[in-house]
């Protein structure tokens, strides 16, 4: 094994960029901040690619499988013997894969932002935040310790918060950033408690040790965690479900997805980076990271499966009705992540049954490219149109040819049209689902068709439909914005051909996969039909969509309002938590708890007023009291206490 310690540079370079720009950016790097950030990321990306090359191809497999390498580990905070937060770097197929994805997409976004964010007042801050996010995300994927995951998890959350709230003067942006943070925080609570349970029973927080201890059926830790239970489920189930809740929060799974559409308030490149390619898949990554443990518990896996599948379907349905292009993309992200989730859910740890795992990772990988591409394209469009609404667009294909082509490529990829990247990964997922669970397969299939439909609805609405209302004076964007689009488009076409099954699998060993044309027939066919329907409805401006919407009536309204999930949450917070918990508590505190304290004081004063008559000012009264006192003492001591 060779030394991977240099990998530490990959996260540290963005961190350095963050610190530099964060502390001095406003003063000294107002213009050059973008270049500095991009350069740092470029270096990181190169190192990441080098590392990937070294890991997969230079060091290669040992005994037929890729092994985990702990490149570096340092006890960061020791709790008690064996239980500590370690900072370290783990090298294994998924972490290396994620390294590449994160640094690469981040680089693209950095580059794109050079043009997109040009002239912003807080340009340096923007790049600082980007650096922070990239650092956190890289730290997250490299974690050796479950608490390290949590730590970077939170950092990722906060950088997401900062970036969503980048346009801090816009109240909607502020609200969205708050929402994103709080909802994910809520989910993180589950994650945290899950960690506590896992840590308590296994006596360690180190992921590999933990996996080791909890995957052998004879180990005392395993026996302890499976025998301990609460409400009919074993501690292991609880722990895993709780951890999954954490993942679901970040990955916008139902019912914790509500923050994702709103998060689109942030700058679009940020959406591309965080809310499409990287952060949102952290949940998937988390489950994958702990997959050996998950695979020990069927209940937890079922939860993952059904939540994933339902989210995928739900998001796809909602996406069909949205009119804000970024929101459509957001729901599509949610839907695709649902795919990844249920793919994990239907997987097993070893051998052929591990197909789902591989597929999930593969989809994660491809999705990162085409989804970030979609977002960047959307960014380019918005940059031109200054609106997110579909109705403000149309016929842009002539005005922005590069964007048009890139967007089309990405749409084809996400729809799963061969030979674009999405096709390969989606095929594997469908196959895995087909093998394990027919119901899930059906849902997945339907969702795939829906995906194709709403993506092409978007495509046609933006680039075809009515003639552009925009003049030629508008340009597509700077070169720095086009280059990433081109690169990503190329990737979207290319990455599907990477022999992923050989590289990234649950047990590290290569998996034999092949494209079965017969099996592919159904999904691809459905997809094409869906595309055709979309073209029919949206290529030209006509009343079709409206008619359909009208005919669906109430259902359409419910869907377009996202099944009233936001309203439900609002109801819970504004109508239940604030007035029914917060207000009473605040009231109780002021009036009852504090009131008691004040009452003590006022009662004392009252008593003081009540007994003032004793001091009547009449000297005979004093004498009477005197004699009374003597008598009292006499009676007390002669008769009462002897």
């Amino acid at each position: 094994m060779s030394d991977y310690a240099y990998i530490v540079l990959i996260p540290l370079l963005p961190l350095a960029s963050f610190v530099l720009l964060g502390l001095f950016g406003r003063k000294y790097f107002t213009k050059s901040a973008g270049i500095i950030g991009t350069m740092a990321l470029l270096a990181s990306t190169i190192i990441a690619l080098m590392a990937a090359h070294q890991y997969f191809f230079v060091d290669g497999k040992v005994a037929g499988a890729y092994h985990q390498v702990i490149a570096f580990k340092y006890t960061w905070l020791a709790f008690s013997p064996g239980v500590s937060i370690d900072m370290g770097i783990v090298i294994d197929p998924i972490s290396v894969m994620m390294l590449v994805v994160v640094s690469f997409v981040s680089l693209m976004v950095h580059m794109f932002s050079l043009g997109y964010m040009k002239g912003e007042e807080r340009f340096a801050t923007y790049y600082a935040y980007l650096g922070l996010f990239t650092f956190s995300m890289l730290g997250l994927v490299l974690s050796v310790n479950i608490f390290q995951v949590y730590l970077f998890w939170e950092l990722v959350g906060v950088s997401s918060f900062l970036l969503i709230g980048y346009y801090y003067e816009k109240p909607t942006a502020v609200a969205a950033s708050k929402k994103a943070f709080i909802v994910t925080r809520f989910a993180d609570l589950g994650f945290l408690i899950g960690i506590l349970i896992l840590g308590f029973y296994s006596g360690t927080l180190d992921i590999s040790t933990l996996i080791h201890k909890l995957t052998s059926v004879q180990s005392p830790e395993y026996i302890a965690i499976t025998t301990a239970g609460f409400l009919g489920a074993s501690a292991l189930t609880w722990a895993l479900v709780l951890v999954f809740i954490g993942g679901a929060g970040k990955s916008a799974m139902f019912p914790l997805h509500i923050w994702l559409p709103d998060a689109m308030e942030g700058p679009t490149p940020v959406s591309a980076l965080i809310h499409a390619a990287t952060m949102v898949v952290a949940g998937v990554y988390l489950v994958a990271r702990l997959f050996p443990v998950f695979s020990m518990d069927d209940t937890a896996l079922h939860v993952v499966t059904y939540v994933g599948a339902f989210s995928a379907l739900l998001a796809a349905v909602i996406a069909c009705t949205q009119t804000d292009i970024k929101r459509v993309l957001a729901f599509s992200t949610m839907s695709q992540i649902g795919y990844m989730m249920f793919a994990l859910g239907v997987s097993k740890q070893v051998g052929e049954q591990g197909l789902g795992y591989m597929a999930s990772m593969f989809h994660l990988f491809t999705h990162a490219f085409f989804k970030s591409l979609l977002f960047l394209c959307a960014g380019a469009v918005i940059h031109l149109v200054h609106s997110n609404e579909i109705k403000d667009m149309g016929g842009l294909r002539k005005l922005m040819p590069v964007t048009h082509i890139a967007f089309l490529v990405a749409c084809l990829a996400i729809a799963g049209v061969p030979p674009f990247a999405g096709f390969f990964s989606k095929e594997e997922i469908l196959l895995a689902a087909f093998n394990e669970n027919k119901l899930i397969y059906a849902v997945a299939l339907f969702t795939a068709a829906l995906t194709a439909f709403y993506m092409f609805r978007l495509y046609f609405s933006i680039f075809w439909s009515k003639e552009s209302a925009h003049h030629d004076t508008h340009h597509e964007g700077t070169v720095s914005m086009k280059i990433p689009l081109i690169i990503l488009a190329a990737c979207t076409i290319g990455v599907g051909f990477i022999p992923f099954a050989k590289l990234v699998t649950a047990d590290g060993a290569a998996l034999e996969t092949h494209i079965d044309i017969l099996f592919s027939l159904a999904p691809v066919g459905l997809t094409l039909i869906a595309i055709l329907i979309a073209a029919r409805l949206y290529k030209q401006q006509n009343g079709g969509p409206q008619k359909i919407a009208d005919s669906l009536g109430g259902f359409y309204r419910v869907v377009s309002r996202k099944f009233y999930m936001d309203e439900l949450y609002l109801f819970i917070t504004k109508k239940i938590i604030f007035p029914l918990i917060g207000k009473p508590i605040a009231w109780i505190d002021r009036n009852i708890v504090d009131g008691c304290m004040n009452a003590l004081a006022s009662i004392t004063v009252k008593i003081s007023g009540g007994i003032k008559g004793m001091q009547s000012g009449k000297v005979q009264g004093y004498a009477l009291y005197f004699f009374g006192g003597v008598t009292l003492l006499a009676i007390l001591f002669i008769y009462v206490w002897k």
Partner: protein, 195 residues
């Protein structure tokens, strides 16, 4: 019950009766006179107990000094003839209750304790004894209290003078003199007696 005992009860009845009258009479001057009688009654009780010296002092100091002082002050405050307002009913009841209770309680305690007198009573109070003991520094000498009391009288006298002296206003000059005289009487009588 022999004559001696009868005398005791008579004296007792007298001094208690006059005492009660003294604290209940409405006219202040009469009250002072009843007090005088009561004090005389006490003096006669001392005579009855054969402590003539104390009886004499009692008459000289109380009857000759304090009561006169009191009567003077009654004149000075020009209230001799007026009927004093009586106490409120509530006050009377309370006081009566307290006093009756107190008296009953004390008498009960006295009764309960059951004092036993010594059979052979050798009690005699010679004036000479009192004189020597008063000025003796030995074991049962009372020179220290004697001196202490003289300082106390000095202090009291000065205090009286300052307080009762009406500065600058000649109108009440007489008061001052009377005061000083009165106090002087008391003090000199005391000194005389003990020497």
């Amino acid at each position: 019950m022999n004559a001696h005992a009868i005398i005791f009860y008579l004296i007792s009845a007298f001094l208690l009766g006059t005492g009660i009258l003294s604290v209940t009479t409405k006219k202040i001057f009469r009250s002072a006179i009843w007090l005088l009688f009561s004090l005389v009654g006490i003096a006669s009780l001392y005579f009855w107990m054969e402590v003539e010296f104390v009886a004499a002092v009692q008459i000289i100091v109380y009857v000759g000094g304090i009561v006169i002082l009191i009567i003077f002050s009654i004149f000075l405050t020009q209230q001799s003839g007026k009927e004093m307002p009586g106490p409120g009913l509530l006050r009377t009841v309370f006081s009566l209750l307290a006093v009756l209770f107190g008296a009953g309680f004390c008498c009960m305690l006295i009764n309960e304790y059951g004092f036993t007198q010594l059979p052979g009573n050798q009690f005699s109070v010679a004036v000479a004894d009192i004189g020597t003991q008063m000025l003796s520094t030995a074991e049962h000498g009372f020179v220290l209290p004697f001196e202490v009391v003289s300082m106390l009288l000095l202090g009291a006298m000065i205090g009286c003078i300052v307080i009762a002296m009406k500065s600058k206003e000649a109108k009440n000059k007489g008061v001052l003199e009377n005061e000083q005289e009165a106090v002087g009487t008391v003090i000199s009588s005391q000194q005389n007696n003990t020497l």
